[in-house]
């Protein structure tokens, strides 16, 4: 059946054109669809692997997990720095989240004051995009669980458990160990270990002082990672434990310090300001490195408020200042040991006497002594700390020999004990003056007697004096102090790996004997004060007092009893014990403490007592059974 219209030319033409062109159109679309199919095959078959990788890269992220910070132990394994769990709240920065509303809701659960909220806002604004911000740290378990339950009301807020540094003996080790605190913008560098992205982890802390700073890299460890699936906003959807990379904990550091001695040291200093450094004079191990008063390092971990900081910084006894390493003082009469050794080295006869009238005129001015000692030889001059003897002896020997002897004992030197902050102080001699005093390059005649009693330009720190007395007590080795016993189990070189002291034994014996007299013989400067005695039976201490001017007296009175604290003299005491077989040596400084015998010697005695009583050999000597004859006498008397 054929429609009549088909035969109409004009209609026929329209239909014909349509048919041809519709066919072409269909073919065109067919080619187009084939092209699409080809493109699909290209993407989905040829390049599939590449896109699969890109897709996984989209899908999975590795979230850093901070490594546990290495522990710090004392010589006996007492923990000095460890980590405790820290319940905290993190806020994910996300454009979807109304931060104000979240903070308002949070405020109901964990009340915060205005200033705290303002600081939080600033923290949140300053944080890089996508990096979570620690909102609240160190919550109690109650707060933590309360927030966990109410989590849906706090979009973007996640509760998590981190770790935070804790120093169990808050203050005693604050200057040695230092502290960790939050990473500031200037801590992060483009290269080197501080380019590690773990530094941006919320709540991550780095060492800012002492051992924590010096061994920050070793203590830090290596960050691990949690493999998580994230959505387009970077929110964690799932955790894939199989893909996790475990964090490598930081190395453990063992110090040579003894927690008992160090803690006792802080106790006995009380409100006094000063430093105490004790070394094992056989090994060079530093047993005590104390600066007092101290501060609670744990407060720095949390972050000090400005009020707290002002209080610490404004206190005139400077708790933040490390007086054992960073402060230098004239050593006063403790330096007479060096002058004596220099004199002996120069061939001066130790029995040569000087006559002390309490005052001596030299170079057009009067030189004073504490009292009138009469004729004194070297032993008695040390024992009674006669200034006149040492003015004259110094002149006899000359500054160069004295300075050389002082340097041989480590004075004016910096020691590699692993932590920063030491100041070398100064052991002056004419050559030094020529080089460093362009306006007055002359060594004046009056400077030598001053040097003889440990005054003048002479400035030393407590560690140096401890090294000095340790070498004196050791006698054979120029001991090096060692503070870091081991890092990650690798034991550091011992202090005995040092050159010989090269001072004749007889000279040392003479000085040591005089130092024994200082404490144990009537007339010794430390004998009168009963608190300066060890009271450990046969175990005796040898020492030397020192009283150093903290300012120039000019023509004023030298009496120090009633002057203001800041104007009082610094009190020194150096000591070792037992006197006959030295094991422990120490230096004690009491800033503005007055006389060394009164302020410093009792502290030294107490610290040595702690050290000696911990030593089993010493205990054996003290508690040795009485002699049989004595025992018999006691029995017969009963």
């Amino acid at each position: 059946m054929i429609e009549p219209s088909v035969f109409m030319d004009e209609v026929n033409e329209r239909q014909g054109v349509f048919q041809r062109r519709a066919f072409l159109m269909g073919a065109g679309f067919g080619v187009g669809l084939l092209a699409l199919g080809g493109r699909l095959a290209h993407l989905q078959i040829l390049e599939a692997e590449r896109y699969k990788m890109l897709s996984e890269h989209n899908q999975f992220q590795f979230l850093q997990t901070p490594p546990p910070r290495g522990l710090i132990f004392d010589r006996h394994g007492v923990v000095l720095a460890s980590n405790r769990p820290d319940f905290r709240l993190l806020l994910a920065k996300d454009e979807d989240i109304d931060i104000d509303a979240t903070l308002a809701n949070l405020n109901v659960l964990v009340p915060m004051d205005e200033a705290r909220l303002r600081r939080l806002r600033a923290d949140i604004d300053a944080a890089p995009a996508k990096a979570p911000v620690a909102l609240v740290e160190d919550m109690t378990w109650e707060e933590f669980s309360r927030i966990n339950v109410r989590a849906p009301e706090l979009p973007g807020v996640t509760a998590d458990m981190g770790e935070v540094r804790v120093y169990p003996f808050s203050g005693a080790f604050a200057h040695v160990i230092g502290y960790v605190s939050k990473v500031s913008a200037k801590d992060v560098s483009k290269t080197g270990p501080n380019a590690d992205p773990i530094l941006l982890n919320p709540g991550f802390r780095i060492g800012k002082q002492g051992v924590e700073k010096a061994f920050d890299i070793e203590l830090r460890g290596k960050a691990g990672a949690r493999k998580v699936e994230v959505d387009v906003k970077g929110r964690v959807v799932r955790h894939d434990p199989a893909g996790d990379v475990a964090a490598v904990p930081g190395s453990t550091i063992q110090l040579t310090l003894d927690a008992d001695i160090q803690n006792r040291g802080l106790e006995i200093f009380g409100e006094d300001s000063g430093a105490a450094v004790m070394m094992d004079c056989r090994s060079g191990d530093v047993l005590c490195l104390l600066s007092a008063p101290s501060f609670d390092a744990n407060r720095f971990v949390k972050g000090l408020t400005s009020v707290e900081y002002q209080a610490l910084a404004g206190y005139d006894r400077k708790p933040l200042y490390d007086k054992a390493l960073s402060a230098t003082y004239p050593p006063g009469s403790t330096f007479k040991t060096m002058v004596s050794l220099a004199a002996l080295d120069a061939g001066v006869d130790p029995e040569r006497t000087c006559v002390c009238h309490g005052i001596w005129n030299y170079g057009g001015r009067a030189w004073h002594c504490d009292s009138v000692h009469g004729a004194v030889n070297m032993h008695n001059a040390i024992k009674t700390s006669c200034d006149i003897f040492f003015y004259q002896t110094a002149l006899l020997v000359g500054p160069d020999r004295i300075a050389a002897m002082a340097r041989r004992f480590g004075l004016g030197k910096l020691f590699d004990i692993g932590i920063p902050g030491q100041r070398a102080g100064l052991v002056p001699d004419p050559a030094y003056k020529r080089a460093h005093f362009p306006k007055d390059p002359v060594w004046h005649g009056g400077e030598t007697p001053s040097l003889g009693i440990g005054q003048g330009y002479l400035n030393l720190n407590a560690l140096q004096l401890c090294v000095m007395v340790s070498r004196l007590a050791n006698g054979s080795t120029a001991l090096q102090p060692r503070l870091i016993h081991s890092i990650g189990g690798i034991v550091q070189p011992a202090g005995t790996q040092a050159p010989a002291l090269a001072v004749p034994k007889a000279h040392l014996e003479l000085v040591r004997a005089a130092m024994t007299s200082v404490v144990n013989d009537p007339g010794g400067t430390a004998f009168a004060n009963i608190k300066s005695h060890l009271n450990l039976g046969p175990i005796k201490m040898a020492g030397k007092t020192g009283t150093a001017q903290s300012h120039s007296y000019g023509s004023g009175s030298r009496k120090t009893a009633n002057v203001a604290w800041a104007l009082k003299d610094h009190a020194w005491f150096i000591a070792f014990a037992p006197h006959d077989d030295p094991r422990y040596a120490l230096s004690v400084l009491v800033e503005h403490g007055g006389f060394g015998a009164a302020a410093a010697a009792p502290k030294a005695a107490e610290l040595l007592r702690v050290a000696l009583l911990k030593d089993p050999d010493i205990r054996a000597r003290i508690t040795a059974p009485p002699l049989p004859a004595m025992a018999g006498a006691t029995t017969s008397a009963t």
Partner: protein
């Protein structure tokens, strides 16, 4: 011949006969693609019927019955309402330009009571019908080259310009391209076609520089090198390609498309649904869908070519052109072969108005087949 069995007058108008004349295979293909779309929508919503899958399927069910019903409507009725529908669409387009509702910075919607109307969708069908209606009354000579052709040119240009102003570049291009295809099928001189192509090539660069909005320019440029702007305009294309490519040969599996599940893929339920599908069902799934699209285009063109009326031929092929162009543009867009313009993938993409438009269009195609023997008298004049 198929018609030989029908002897009695009015036999073709019987409902049962008409239903038999509907191309059910074509209907089946429509259903398969919609079902695939529903599956993808279900999957990317986190294996949930809400918010997309249930509404997609529900609307399709309604539209399917409407399509069958409309397919039974006499082609002469379609013919009669061609200009009114085009006119109404044009008025709505004008209205949307004045009081339209703005989403994503473009005025495309018109709120009429509870219904949200997208006039650019209505005009797609209206345009096809109006052009078919016009060419039905135009002689082959005039259709080849005459001043009369200014009328279809205007029929195309006015709505295309209005839609482009919204701005909805994708739909405007679609409208213009569909109109162009109908004019060519209507018998436009191939010399003119060639001249127009040359002219287009000549005006395109200045158009690009001075007429397009900066964001449109950015989109056009970005598809050539999406890596240049990873987080901005290139993001869509990069993520879409990652979704496609990572699907591989067999796909990541139902409900396992990370690109869409984790929202890396933007507009995953609408413009980029093909990428979502490709990610989960791989090249195999995509090839099947593309093959079905090809089959549908072929079948629709065959339905157009068997029509006895010029109106029927041009209307059915016009709808087919719209449908095919949608598939091509969207496909090229998600595969990084064309700039990102807002053209959805027919039947797969979620979106009410697009679904209605497509189903009404298919109803017209089916109606052309059902009424392929209908003679439509040429009107007295060309326009009426």
């Amino acid at each position: 011949m198929t018609a030989s069995a029908i002897t009695q007058a009015g036999e073709r108008d019987r409902l049962i006969v008409k239903l038999g004349e509907i191309d059910w295979t074509f209907c089946l293909f429509i259903t398969i693609i919609t079902a695939a779309g529903t599956m993808v929508l279900y999957s990317i919503a986190g294996e949930s019927w809400s918010p997309w899958a249930v509404r997609h399927l529900g609307l399709f069910a309604v539209c399917f019955f409407a399509m069958i019903a409309l397919a039974l409507v006499d082609l002469r009725v379609w013919y009669a309402v061609a200009y009114p529908i085009y006119g109404a669409g044009l008025l709505l387009l004008l209205a949307v330009a004045v009081i339209g509702h703005s989403t994503m910075g473009a005025q495309r919607w018109l709120d009429i009571g509870p219904v949200r109307l997208q006039p650019s969708e209505i005009i797609k069908i209206g345009l096809v019908m109006a052009l078919a209606r016009f060419y039905h009354g135009l002689s082959a000579d005039k259709a080849r080259l005459s001043w009369w052709l200014l009328i279809p040119a205007a029929i195309i240009a006015v709505p295309a310009a209005l839609v482009a102003r919204q701005p909805d570049l994708g739909t405007a291009i679609l409208i213009a391209a569909t109109g162009g295809v109908i004019m060519i099928l209507g018998g436009l001189s191939l010399r003119v076609v060639g001249a127009c192509a040359l002219a287009l090539a000549a005006v395109a660069p200045p158009m690009f520089m001075f007429v397009l909005k900066p964001y449109q320019r950015a989109r056009l440029l970005t598809f050539l090198n999406p890596e240049a702007d990873r987080s901005g305009a290139g993001y869509h294309i990069i993520q879409s390609k990652i979704a496609l490519g990572s699907g591989g040969l067999l796909g990541k599996g139902f409900g396992l498309g990370t690109q869409s599940q984790l929202n890396f893929l933007p507009e995953k339920s609408t413009d980029f649904i093909f990428s979502s599908m490709a990610e989960e069902f791989g090249f195999a799934g995509c090839a099947v869908i593309l093959a079905i699209y090809a089959a549908m285009i072929f079948m629709a063109l065959r339905m157009a070519s068997v029509a006895h009326s010029h109106f029927g031929r041009l209307a059915a092929s016009g709808v087919t052109a719209t449908f095919a162009l949608c598939v091509m543009i969207n496909g090229a867009m998600v595969m990084g072969l064309a700039p990102v313009v807002g053209v959805p993938m027919p039947l797969l993409s979620y979106g009410g108005t697009v679904m209605i438009t497509m189903m009404v269009g298919f109803a017209l195609v089916l109606s052309v087949r059902v009424h392929r023997y209908s003679e439509i008298a040429r009107s007295r004049g060309i326009l009426l």
